[in-house]
Protein backbone atom coordinates (compact mmCIF):
# COMPACT_ATOMS: atom_id res chain seq x y z
CA UNK A 1 0.00 0.00 0.00
CA UNK A 2 2.76 2.46 0.96
CA UNK A 3 4.67 1.37 -2.16
CA UNK A 4 1.71 2.42 -4.30
CA UNK A 5 1.55 5.69 -2.38
CA UNK A 6 5.12 6.30 -3.52
CA UNK A 7 4.92 4.98 -7.08
CA UNK A 8 1.64 6.59 -8.16
CA UNK A 9 2.76 10.21 -7.49
CA UNK A 10 6.11 9.48 -9.14
CA UNK A 11 4.45 8.10 -12.28
CA UNK A 12 2.00 11.02 -12.45
CA UNK A 13 4.82 13.48 -11.67
CA UNK A 14 6.98 12.12 -14.49
CA UNK A 15 4.05 12.43 -16.88
CA UNK A 16 3.20 15.92 -15.60
CA UNK A 17 6.79 17.18 -15.82
CA UNK A 18 7.08 15.79 -19.35
CA UNK A 19 3.84 17.51 -20.36
CA UNK A 20 5.01 20.76 -18.71
CA UNK A 21 8.26 20.60 -20.73
CA UNK A 22 6.34 20.23 -24.00
CA UNK A 23 3.68 22.82 -23.21
CA UNK A 24 5.94 25.46 -21.62
CA UNK A 25 5.60 28.84 -23.34
CA UNK A 26 9.10 30.07 -22.57
CA UNK A 27 12.38 28.40 -23.45
CA UNK A 28 13.54 28.73 -19.84
CA UNK A 29 10.37 27.06 -18.54
CA UNK A 30 10.86 24.16 -20.95
CA UNK A 31 14.48 23.71 -19.86
CA UNK A 32 13.56 23.60 -16.18
CA UNK A 33 10.67 21.24 -16.97
CA UNK A 34 13.24 18.97 -18.62
CA UNK A 35 15.56 19.14 -15.59
CA UNK A 36 12.62 18.31 -13.29
CA UNK A 37 11.69 15.37 -15.54
CA UNK A 38 15.24 14.04 -15.14
CA UNK A 39 15.13 14.37 -11.35
CA UNK A 40 11.82 12.50 -11.16
CA UNK A 41 13.22 9.88 -13.58
CA UNK A 42 16.10 9.32 -11.12
CA UNK A 43 13.58 8.36 -8.43
CA UNK A 44 11.61 6.24 -10.91
CA UNK A 45 14.76 4.24 -11.77
CA UNK A 46 15.34 3.73 -8.04
CA UNK A 47 11.80 2.38 -7.68
CA UNK A 48 12.43 0.06 -10.66
CA UNK A 49 15.40 -1.30 -8.66
CA UNK A 50 17.98 -0.02 -11.15
CA UNK A 51 20.30 2.07 -8.92
CA UNK A 52 23.07 2.05 -11.59
CA UNK A 53 20.78 3.77 -14.07
CA UNK A 54 19.51 6.11 -11.34
CA UNK A 55 23.09 7.21 -10.62
CA UNK A 56 23.70 7.92 -14.32
CA UNK A 57 20.45 9.82 -14.63
CA UNK A 58 21.30 11.90 -11.55
CA UNK A 59 24.79 12.85 -12.78
CA UNK A 60 23.98 13.37 -16.45
CA UNK A 61 20.50 14.82 -15.96
CA UNK A 62 21.23 17.12 -13.03
CA UNK A 63 24.81 18.21 -13.79
CA UNK A 64 25.80 17.78 -17.43
CA UNK A 65 22.62 18.38 -19.43
CA UNK A 66 21.31 21.11 -17.14
CA UNK A 67 24.50 23.12 -17.67
CA UNK A 68 24.54 22.47 -21.44
CA UNK A 69 20.89 23.22 -22.23
CA UNK A 70 20.53 26.15 -19.83
CA UNK A 71 23.58 27.74 -21.43
CA UNK A 72 22.30 27.08 -24.96
CA UNK A 73 18.83 28.35 -24.07
CA UNK A 74 20.24 31.58 -22.68
CA UNK A 75 22.45 32.10 -25.75
CA UNK A 76 19.72 31.61 -28.35
CA UNK A 77 16.93 33.00 -26.18
CA UNK A 78 17.46 36.63 -27.07
CA UNK A 79 17.81 36.42 -30.81
CA UNK A 80 15.86 33.35 -31.89
CA UNK A 81 12.47 34.11 -33.41
CA UNK A 82 10.01 31.33 -32.63
CA UNK A 83 9.30 29.27 -35.76
CA UNK A 84 5.80 29.58 -37.26
CA UNK A 85 3.53 26.74 -36.09
CA UNK A 86 3.17 24.00 -38.72
CA UNK A 87 -0.14 23.76 -40.66
CA UNK A 88 -3.07 22.19 -38.83
CA UNK A 89 -3.18 19.11 -41.08
CA UNK A 90 0.46 18.32 -40.26
CA UNK A 91 -0.20 18.67 -36.55
CA UNK A 92 -3.27 16.42 -36.67
CA UNK A 93 -1.35 13.82 -38.66
CA UNK A 94 1.56 13.93 -36.18
CA UNK A 95 -0.94 13.52 -33.32
CA UNK A 96 -2.58 10.49 -34.97
CA UNK A 97 0.79 8.84 -35.65
CA UNK A 98 1.97 9.45 -32.08
CA UNK A 99 -1.27 8.00 -30.67
CA UNK A 100 -0.90 4.98 -32.95
CA UNK A 101 2.67 4.44 -31.74
CA UNK A 102 1.53 4.72 -28.13
CA UNK A 103 -1.19 2.10 -28.71
CA UNK A 104 1.30 -0.25 -30.40
CA UNK A 105 3.81 0.17 -27.56
CA UNK A 106 1.11 -0.44 -24.95
CA UNK A 107 0.01 -3.54 -26.86
CA UNK A 108 3.59 -4.86 -26.97
CA UNK A 109 4.00 -4.16 -23.26
CA UNK A 110 0.84 -6.00 -22.26
CA UNK A 111 1.54 -9.02 -24.47
CA UNK A 112 5.00 -9.70 -22.99
CA UNK A 113 5.42 -13.37 -22.01
CA UNK A 114 5.14 -14.14 -18.32
CA UNK A 115 7.75 -14.42 -16.85
CA UNK A 116 9.62 -12.01 -19.11
CA UNK A 117 12.65 -13.53 -20.88
CA UNK A 118 15.75 -12.64 -18.86
CA UNK A 119 19.47 -13.31 -18.93
CA UNK A 120 19.80 -12.33 -15.26
CA UNK A 121 20.20 -15.93 -14.04
CA UNK A 122 23.04 -16.88 -16.48
CA UNK A 123 24.81 -13.60 -15.61
CA UNK A 124 24.66 -14.36 -11.88
CA UNK A 125 25.83 -17.94 -12.51
CA UNK A 126 28.89 -16.74 -14.44
CA UNK A 127 29.92 -13.78 -12.29
CA UNK A 128 32.51 -15.72 -10.24
CA UNK A 129 35.37 -15.80 -12.84
CA UNK A 130 35.27 -12.00 -13.22
CA UNK A 131 35.90 -11.45 -9.50
CA UNK A 132 33.29 -8.66 -9.50
CA UNK A 133 30.38 -8.20 -7.12
CA UNK A 134 28.15 -5.97 -9.26
CA UNK A 135 26.40 -7.95 -12.03
CA UNK A 136 25.89 -4.75 -14.08
CA UNK A 137 29.66 -4.14 -14.19
CA UNK A 138 30.25 -7.82 -15.00
CA UNK A 139 27.99 -7.52 -18.05
CA UNK A 140 29.52 -4.20 -19.13
CA UNK A 141 33.17 -5.19 -18.68
CA UNK A 142 33.23 -8.95 -19.30
CA UNK A 143 30.17 -10.51 -20.93
CA UNK A 144 29.42 -7.62 -23.32
CA UNK A 145 32.76 -5.81 -23.24
CA UNK A 146 32.68 -5.22 -27.01
CA UNK A 147 29.62 -2.95 -26.63
CA UNK A 148 31.34 -0.99 -23.87
CA UNK A 149 34.49 -0.65 -26.00
CA UNK A 150 32.45 0.82 -28.87
CA UNK A 151 30.65 3.16 -26.44
CA UNK A 152 33.96 4.36 -25.04
CA UNK A 153 35.10 5.28 -28.57
CA UNK A 154 31.87 7.27 -29.05
CA UNK A 155 33.01 9.69 -26.32
CA UNK A 156 36.16 10.52 -28.29
CA UNK A 157 34.18 11.11 -31.48
CA UNK A 158 31.69 13.29 -29.59
CA UNK A 159 34.55 15.55 -28.52
CA UNK A 160 35.82 15.60 -32.17
CA UNK A 161 32.34 16.65 -33.32
CA UNK A 162 32.09 19.45 -30.76
CA UNK A 163 35.60 20.77 -31.43
CA UNK A 164 34.95 20.74 -35.17
CA UNK A 165 32.27 23.41 -34.54
CA UNK A 166 35.03 25.84 -33.61
CA UNK A 167 35.79 28.53 -36.19
CA UNK A 168 39.21 28.31 -37.82
CA UNK A 169 40.64 31.32 -36.01
CA UNK A 170 39.74 29.88 -32.59
CA UNK A 171 41.37 26.49 -33.18
CA UNK A 172 43.88 25.65 -30.49
CA UNK A 173 42.31 27.82 -27.84
CA UNK A 174 40.65 26.71 -24.61
CA UNK A 175 37.19 25.10 -24.79
CA UNK A 176 34.08 27.00 -23.77
CA UNK A 177 33.01 30.62 -23.39
CA UNK A 178 34.88 33.28 -21.45
CA UNK A 179 34.04 33.79 -17.81
CA UNK A 180 35.35 36.68 -15.82
CA UNK A 181 36.99 35.72 -12.57
CA UNK A 182 34.79 36.38 -9.58
CA UNK A 183 36.88 36.32 -6.43
CA UNK A 184 33.94 36.59 -4.02
CA UNK A 185 30.34 35.57 -4.04
CA UNK A 186 28.40 32.30 -3.87
CA UNK A 187 29.66 30.85 -7.19
CA UNK A 188 33.33 31.32 -6.32
CA UNK A 189 32.66 29.94 -2.85
CA UNK A 190 30.98 26.83 -4.28
CA UNK A 191 33.80 26.39 -6.82
CA UNK A 192 36.33 26.43 -4.00
CA UNK A 193 34.49 24.25 -1.49
CA UNK A 194 32.78 21.62 -3.67
CA UNK A 195 35.61 20.16 -5.84
CA UNK A 196 37.75 18.70 -3.00
CA UNK A 197 34.69 16.82 -1.71
CA UNK A 198 33.43 16.03 -5.20
CA UNK A 199 36.73 14.57 -6.42
CA UNK A 200 36.80 12.13 -3.50
CA UNK A 201 33.17 11.14 -4.16
CA UNK A 202 33.81 10.82 -7.92
CA UNK A 203 36.77 8.49 -7.38
CA UNK A 204 34.75 6.56 -4.79
CA UNK A 205 31.79 6.09 -7.16
CA UNK A 206 34.15 4.88 -9.92
CA UNK A 207 35.95 2.51 -7.53
CA UNK A 208 32.86 1.07 -5.84
CA UNK A 209 31.41 0.12 -9.26
CA UNK A 210 33.12 -3.27 -9.11
CA UNK A 211 30.94 -4.38 -6.20
CA UNK A 212 28.03 -1.93 -5.93
CA UNK A 213 26.07 0.52 -8.11
CA UNK A 214 28.51 2.99 -9.67
CA UNK A 215 31.40 2.74 -12.10
CA UNK A 216 33.60 4.61 -14.54
CA UNK A 217 30.86 6.51 -16.30
CA UNK A 218 29.06 7.85 -13.22
CA UNK A 219 32.30 8.55 -11.35
CA UNK A 220 33.91 10.16 -14.40
CA UNK A 221 30.88 12.39 -14.92
CA UNK A 222 31.08 13.58 -11.29
CA UNK A 223 34.78 14.37 -11.80
CA UNK A 224 33.95 16.26 -15.01
CA UNK A 225 31.39 18.37 -13.15
CA UNK A 226 33.99 19.16 -10.48
CA UNK A 227 36.49 20.18 -13.17
CA UNK A 228 34.05 22.43 -15.00
CA UNK A 229 32.87 24.27 -11.88
CA UNK A 230 36.12 26.28 -11.34
CA UNK A 231 36.15 27.08 -15.10
CA UNK A 232 32.68 28.59 -14.83
CA UNK A 233 33.67 30.59 -11.75
CA UNK A 234 36.70 31.88 -13.68
CA UNK A 235 39.10 30.60 -11.00
CA UNK A 236 41.19 28.42 -13.34
CA UNK A 237 41.61 28.41 -17.11
CA UNK A 238 40.83 25.19 -18.97
CA UNK A 239 43.69 23.69 -21.03
CA UNK A 240 43.94 24.47 -24.73
CA UNK A 241 42.37 21.91 -27.07
CA UNK A 242 45.82 21.44 -28.67
CA UNK A 243 47.28 20.44 -25.31
CA UNK A 244 48.58 16.89 -25.78
CA UNK A 245 47.91 16.04 -22.14
CA UNK A 246 44.20 16.84 -22.56
CA UNK A 247 44.02 14.86 -25.81
CA UNK A 248 45.83 11.92 -24.20
CA UNK A 249 43.46 11.98 -21.22
CA UNK A 250 40.46 11.82 -23.58
CA UNK A 251 41.93 8.95 -25.61
CA UNK A 252 43.52 6.98 -22.73
CA UNK A 253 40.43 4.95 -21.82
CA UNK A 254 39.57 3.57 -25.27
CA UNK A 255 43.29 2.98 -25.97
CA UNK A 256 43.88 0.95 -22.79
CA UNK A 257 40.60 -0.91 -23.41
CA UNK A 258 41.66 -1.76 -26.98
CA UNK A 259 45.15 -2.81 -25.91
CA UNK A 260 43.81 -5.13 -23.20
CA UNK A 261 41.36 -6.47 -25.79
CA UNK A 262 44.12 -7.20 -28.32
CA UNK A 263 46.25 -8.74 -25.58
CA UNK A 264 43.45 -11.29 -25.21
CA UNK A 265 44.60 -12.87 -28.50
CA UNK A 266 48.01 -13.63 -27.00
CA UNK A 267 47.26 -14.63 -23.42
CA UNK A 268 43.58 -15.72 -23.44
CA UNK A 269 40.94 -17.13 -25.78
CA UNK A 270 40.62 -14.14 -28.10
CA UNK A 271 39.68 -10.49 -28.47
CA UNK A 272 38.55 -8.96 -25.15
CA UNK A 273 38.97 -12.27 -23.29
CA UNK A 274 40.67 -11.99 -19.93
CA UNK A 275 43.24 -14.60 -18.81
CA UNK A 276 41.85 -16.65 -15.88
CA UNK A 277 42.72 -15.16 -12.50
CA UNK A 278 43.59 -11.71 -13.90
CA UNK A 279 40.08 -10.65 -14.95
CA UNK A 280 39.46 -8.26 -12.07
CA UNK A 281 42.92 -6.67 -12.27
CA UNK A 282 42.52 -5.97 -15.99
CA UNK A 283 38.94 -4.73 -15.55
CA UNK A 284 40.08 -2.31 -12.84
CA UNK A 285 42.91 -1.11 -15.11
CA UNK A 286 40.42 -0.38 -17.91
CA UNK A 287 37.96 1.23 -15.48
CA UNK A 288 40.68 3.54 -14.12
CA UNK A 289 41.75 4.71 -17.58
CA UNK A 290 38.10 5.05 -18.65
CA UNK A 291 37.26 7.17 -15.57
CA UNK A 292 39.98 9.62 -16.60
CA UNK A 293 38.74 9.68 -20.20
CA UNK A 294 35.08 10.08 -19.28
CA UNK A 295 36.00 12.96 -16.95
CA UNK A 296 38.09 14.75 -19.60
CA UNK A 297 35.66 14.12 -22.48
CA UNK A 298 32.56 15.09 -20.49
CA UNK A 299 34.23 18.27 -19.26
CA UNK A 300 35.04 19.22 -22.88
CA UNK A 301 31.47 18.40 -23.93
CA UNK A 302 29.98 20.57 -21.17
CA UNK A 303 32.34 23.46 -21.98
CA UNK A 304 31.68 23.30 -25.73
CA UNK A 305 33.84 24.43 -28.65
CA UNK A 306 36.58 27.04 -28.11
CA UNK A 307 35.16 30.53 -27.82
CA UNK A 308 38.00 32.52 -26.38
CA UNK A 309 41.73 33.12 -26.39
CA UNK A 310 43.70 30.80 -24.14
CA UNK A 311 45.41 32.52 -21.28
CA UNK A 312 49.21 32.60 -21.52
Amino acid sequence: MTALLLDLPLALGLFGAGAATLLARSLFGAVLGFISTGLIATLVWVRLEAPDVALTEAVIGAAATSVIILYVASRIGNRATPPAPPPIAQRVLAGILSALLAVLLAHALFSLPEPAPSLAAPVLDNIAPTGLGNPVTAVLMAHRAIDTLLESAVLVFAVFAIWSMAPERRWGRAPGPAFMAEAHGPLAFLAKVLPPIGIVIGVYIAWVGADAPGGKFQGGAVLAAMWVLPWIAGLVAPPSISDMRLRLAIAAGPLVFLMVGLMGFAVAEGFLAYPPGYAKTLILLIETAMTLSVAAAMACMIAGPPERRARP
Binding site: P9, G16, I35, S36, L55, A62, L70, Y71, P177, I201
Partner: protein, 86 residues
Protein backbone atom coordinates in the same frame (compact mmCIF):
# COMPACT_ATOMS: atom_id res chain seq x y z
CA UNK B 1 9.26 0.53 10.46
CA UNK B 2 10.10 0.17 6.75
CA UNK B 3 6.45 0.98 5.98
CA UNK B 4 6.61 4.21 7.99
CA UNK B 5 9.87 5.26 6.30
CA UNK B 6 8.48 4.53 2.82
CA UNK B 7 5.35 6.50 3.73
CA UNK B 8 7.49 9.44 4.85
CA UNK B 9 9.40 9.29 1.55
CA UNK B 10 6.06 9.34 -0.30
CA UNK B 11 4.99 12.40 1.69
CA UNK B 12 8.22 14.26 0.83
CA UNK B 13 7.90 13.45 -2.87
CA UNK B 14 4.22 14.48 -2.89
CA UNK B 15 5.03 17.86 -1.36
CA UNK B 16 7.87 18.44 -3.85
CA UNK B 17 5.60 17.52 -6.74
CA UNK B 18 3.14 20.18 -5.60
CA UNK B 19 6.04 22.60 -6.08
CA UNK B 20 6.22 21.48 -9.71
CA UNK B 21 3.36 23.91 -10.34
CA UNK B 22 5.93 26.71 -9.91
CA UNK B 23 8.14 25.21 -12.63
CA UNK B 24 5.16 25.43 -14.95
CA UNK B 25 3.73 28.78 -13.89
CA UNK B 26 6.71 30.80 -12.73
CA UNK B 27 6.15 33.72 -12.74
CA UNK B 28 9.85 34.64 -12.41
CA UNK B 29 12.82 32.55 -13.54
CA UNK B 30 14.00 32.21 -9.95
CA UNK B 31 10.64 30.64 -8.98
CA UNK B 32 11.04 28.01 -11.69
CA UNK B 33 14.65 27.33 -10.77
CA UNK B 34 13.95 26.97 -7.05
CA UNK B 35 11.03 24.61 -7.69
CA UNK B 36 13.38 22.36 -9.67
CA UNK B 37 15.96 22.63 -6.89
CA UNK B 38 13.29 21.72 -4.33
CA UNK B 39 12.70 18.54 -6.31
CA UNK B 40 16.39 17.59 -6.08
CA UNK B 41 16.52 18.33 -2.33
CA UNK B 42 13.33 16.33 -1.76
CA UNK B 43 14.80 13.53 -3.89
CA UNK B 44 17.83 13.34 -1.56
CA UNK B 45 15.55 13.13 1.48
CA UNK B 46 13.32 10.49 -0.08
CA UNK B 47 16.34 8.42 -1.20
CA UNK B 48 17.85 8.47 2.30
CA UNK B 49 14.52 7.40 3.83
CA UNK B 50 14.24 4.55 1.29
CA UNK B 51 17.85 3.60 2.06
CA UNK B 52 16.99 3.36 5.76
CA UNK B 53 13.93 1.28 4.83
CA UNK B 54 16.19 -1.48 3.53
CA UNK B 55 18.12 -0.48 0.38
CA UNK B 56 21.50 0.81 1.64
CA UNK B 57 22.93 1.16 -1.92
CA UNK B 58 20.64 4.19 -2.38
CA UNK B 59 22.84 6.23 0.00
CA UNK B 60 25.34 6.56 -2.87
CA UNK B 61 22.63 7.81 -5.24
CA UNK B 62 21.60 10.39 -2.62
CA UNK B 63 25.26 11.37 -2.15
CA UNK B 64 25.73 12.01 -5.87
CA UNK B 65 22.44 13.88 -6.15
CA UNK B 66 23.50 16.09 -3.23
CA UNK B 67 26.78 16.81 -4.98
CA UNK B 68 25.41 17.68 -8.42
CA UNK B 69 21.96 18.92 -7.39
CA UNK B 70 23.23 22.49 -7.17
CA UNK B 71 24.43 22.46 -10.79
CA UNK B 72 21.14 23.76 -12.19
CA UNK B 73 21.71 26.88 -10.08
CA UNK B 74 25.35 27.04 -11.21
CA UNK B 75 24.19 26.86 -14.83
CA UNK B 76 21.61 29.57 -14.12
CA UNK B 77 24.27 31.90 -12.73
CA UNK B 78 26.61 31.00 -15.59
CA UNK B 79 23.97 31.75 -18.21
CA UNK B 80 23.14 35.11 -16.63
CA UNK B 81 26.85 36.03 -16.53
CA UNK B 82 27.23 35.28 -20.23
CA UNK B 83 24.21 37.47 -21.03
CA UNK B 84 25.41 40.32 -18.80
CA UNK B 85 28.70 40.42 -20.68
CA UNK B 86 26.99 41.23 -23.96
Amino acid sequence: MAEVLTGAAALIILSALVGLVRVLRGPTRADRLLAAQLLSTAGIGALLLLAAAGAPELIDVALVLALVGAFASVAFVMASRVIDRR
